[in-house]
């Protein structure tokens, strides 16, 4: 098979993320989509704080590093001043839904044409696996050693439900980026459906921005290191538990980009 070279990705797509983590996959899809749409040159990435902070090392686009949770505010200003450019961010679930939920909601409410990719690994990855607003009930983290107590902490926050409240969002979608393990008689294989779905969502989110709309895609992914699981178990966890808490699906598609 011919390997496509992505001009938006340095070093032929080799990242320094933990083995088994889909943060790197997401970067590759973003790079591929920028190339496919021919918008690498006019893309500006705003970095959030979390594992995605390292993205600027791998995507060959202009970059502004925002404070934790504030990427949507930084992006809004840039987009309002540079209307012809494509402005996007990768936020973690902690960045977007804990410290930065206000900035995210106000940017979404204004409907400024921006694209936000949220990597939901259900914990704070960068800081060592503490509870996030998205941590499922009962999940053990370094700050919930006996499992998340929803009586005290409330249930996990569902970004797509929260954002559905804002009428000026044009594209809102949740996909699973973790390849599903398929058990055969003598080995484990991985499905490619998740990768295809995720790539399509990235592409359509950018298309929506180009058409003048705000787009948000949530990617359900793993953090095997902080979940303290093997890579295989972490992938299994996403498909056994993750998809039940966060069912994938299209919440909104004003321009009909998903159908095309």
């Amino acid at each position: 098979m011919e390997v496509k070279q992505f001009s938006s990705i340095f070093e032929n797509g080799v990242t320094t993320y933990c083995p088994g983590c889909e943060h790197g996959l997401l970067l590759k899809f973003i790079g591929m989509a920028l190339d496919e749409l021919g918008i690498t040159e006019k893309a500006i990435m705003v970095g959030s704080v979390g594992c995605s902070t390292l993205a600027y090392k791998f995507l060959n686009v202009d970059y502004v590093q925002a404070p934790h949770g504030r990427a949507p505010a930084v992006m809004s200003a840039i987009k309002l001043l540079e209307k012809d450019k494509v402005v996007f961010a990768i936020q973690g679930d902690g960045d977007a839904l804990s410290i930065g939920i206000a900035e995210l909601m106000h940017a979404a409410n204004r409907g400024i044409p921006l694209t936000i990719f949220m990597y939901n690994n259900m914990v704070f990855g960068m800081t060592g696996g503490q509870m996030a607003p998205t941590t499922p009930e009962g999940m053990k983290t370094t700050t919930t050693p006996f499992g998340r107590d929803v009586k005290q902490m409330g249930p996990p926050i569902d970004a797509c439900k929260v954002l559905s409240a804002f009428p000026q969002i044009s594209y809102l979608k949740r996909v699973v980026i973790t390849p599903k393990p398929i058990y055969t008689k003598d080995r484990v294989m991985y499905s490619s459906k998740e990768a295809m779905d995720s790539y399509k969502a990235v592409l359509n989110a950018f298309k929506t921005q180009l058409m003048g709309g705000f787009s948000f895609v949530e990617f359900i992914g793993t953090c095997n290191v902080n979940w303290k699981m093997t890579i295989l178990d972490s992938k299994k966890y996403v498909h056994d538990v993750g998809v039940k808490v966060y069912p994938p699906g299209l919440c909104r598609d004003v321009y009909g980009v998903d159908k095309k």
Partner: protein, 345 residues
């Protein structure tokens, strides 16, 4: 032509005429009139360069929008007061570290906490002693009249872009709310080339506006670079010495409205034959250390007149290394000319 104008309106006019491209703000007394006046000028649409006016959802949003605008090389500004400035500290630190220019008008009100909305100068220590985590030294300008406020807005834009740094214009509720005569029409600030800005292959190059340097040698190098820039910024230090002689009985030190009132006290004392003078930092950071040392050495006594507990005196003492008497006004009171003069009599 001389005209009478309110401080807030003058600041708004100066900003827009000087080339303001984006305003982001969150209302807070006593700064809101600046934003309101700017919204009118934006709505009138007479200034083609003025692209964006947006009421943010918080000062956290404001500062990060300024940061985004600065990172993309646009002239941007906000006006706020103490509680808002506290919320902006993190963003100012990021902007300082990654060299994004913008101007913040800090209209001081009574603090700490919610305090009150009367004039104080209680943010002096905050802006001078690291405005944000990690060692942050923005340029700080301190006008004492409405006309000077206009000039400082203009100069604020120039300095922000010349040195790629956040600039704070420190003022107070009194100057911003007073009607004063001005005789100055700000010219348009011609922005230097922003070939460093992150706005999508600007000048054909990739640009990274960043403050993360995970390796200690890299972070050390960046800090050293910022400190070197700080040294260059020392050159812009500016001060006024009002009625300063070769020998003085008393040298007052004050900024903003305290300086304006102290000038009156100096004149009264002069009438009585007292050799009084006033040293007024125009740039509060960098402070004109040479001027301060020169003039303070000529005075028998130094009195710092402040609308706080003595925050400026703390800075002054560090430099002059001798006793500085403080005449503090707390809670929203403004200096009284007679009381100021009384510190010598």
């Amino acid at each position: 032509m001389k005209r009478l104008i309110m401080g807030a309106k003058a600041i708004a006019e100066a900003a827009v005429r000087s080339g303001l491209e984006a305003y982001f703000g969150y209302p807070i007394t006593p700064s809101s009139e600046i934003m309101e006046n700017i919204s009118v000028l934006y709505g009138e649409g007479k200034y083609p360069w003025f692209k964006v006016f947006l009421q943010s959802a918080s000062e956290i949003e404001s500062v990060n929008m300024l940061f985004g605008a600065g990172a993309a090389g646009y002239v941007s500004m906000t006006a706020t007061s103490g509680p808002g400035l506290s919320l902006m500290a993190e963003g100012i630190s990021y902007a300082y570290a990654s060299e994004a220019p913008f101007l913040i008008i800090d209209v001081n009100r009574g603090g700490p906490g919610l305090g009150n909305v009367a004039p104080e100068q209680s943010d002096v220590s905050f802006v001078l002693n690291s405005l944000g985590h990690g060692g942050v030294k923005p340029i700080v300008l301190a006008p004492h009249t409405v006309q000077e406020s206009m000039e400082h807005v203009h100069k604020g834009f120039e300095l922000a872009f010349a040195y790629r740094t956040p600039v704070i214009l420190l003022t107070d509720a009194l100057i911003v709310h007073m009607y004063d005569t001005v005789e100055w029409d700000p010219p348009y600030v011609v922005k230097p080339k922003v070939d460093w800005a992150a706005r999508g292959r600007n000048y054909g190059q990739r640009h990274i506006i960043n403050s993360i340097y995970l390796d200690p040698p890299e972070l050390k190098a960046n800090k050293e670079r910022l400190l070197q820039k700080q040294k260059e910024i020392e050159k812009i230090a500016e001060s006024e010495c009002f009625m300063c002689d070769e020998e003085m009985d008393v040298l007052y030190i004050a900024i903003g409205i305290s300086a304006r009132i102290s000038k009156e006290a100096v004149l009264r004392l002069r009438n009585e034959g007292v050799k009084a003078g006033l040293f007024r930092p125009i740039t509060l950071s960098p402070l004109d250390k040479d001027g301060l040392l020169k003039y303070s050495s000529r005075a028998k006594k130094i009195v710092s007149v402040e609308m706080n507990e003595g925050q400026l005196a703390q800075e002054i003492t560090r430099i002059v290394r001798r006793d500085v008497e403080v005449l503090p006004y707390l809670g929203g009171y403004i200096p009284d000319v007679e009381e100021v003069a009384e510190t010598w009599r």
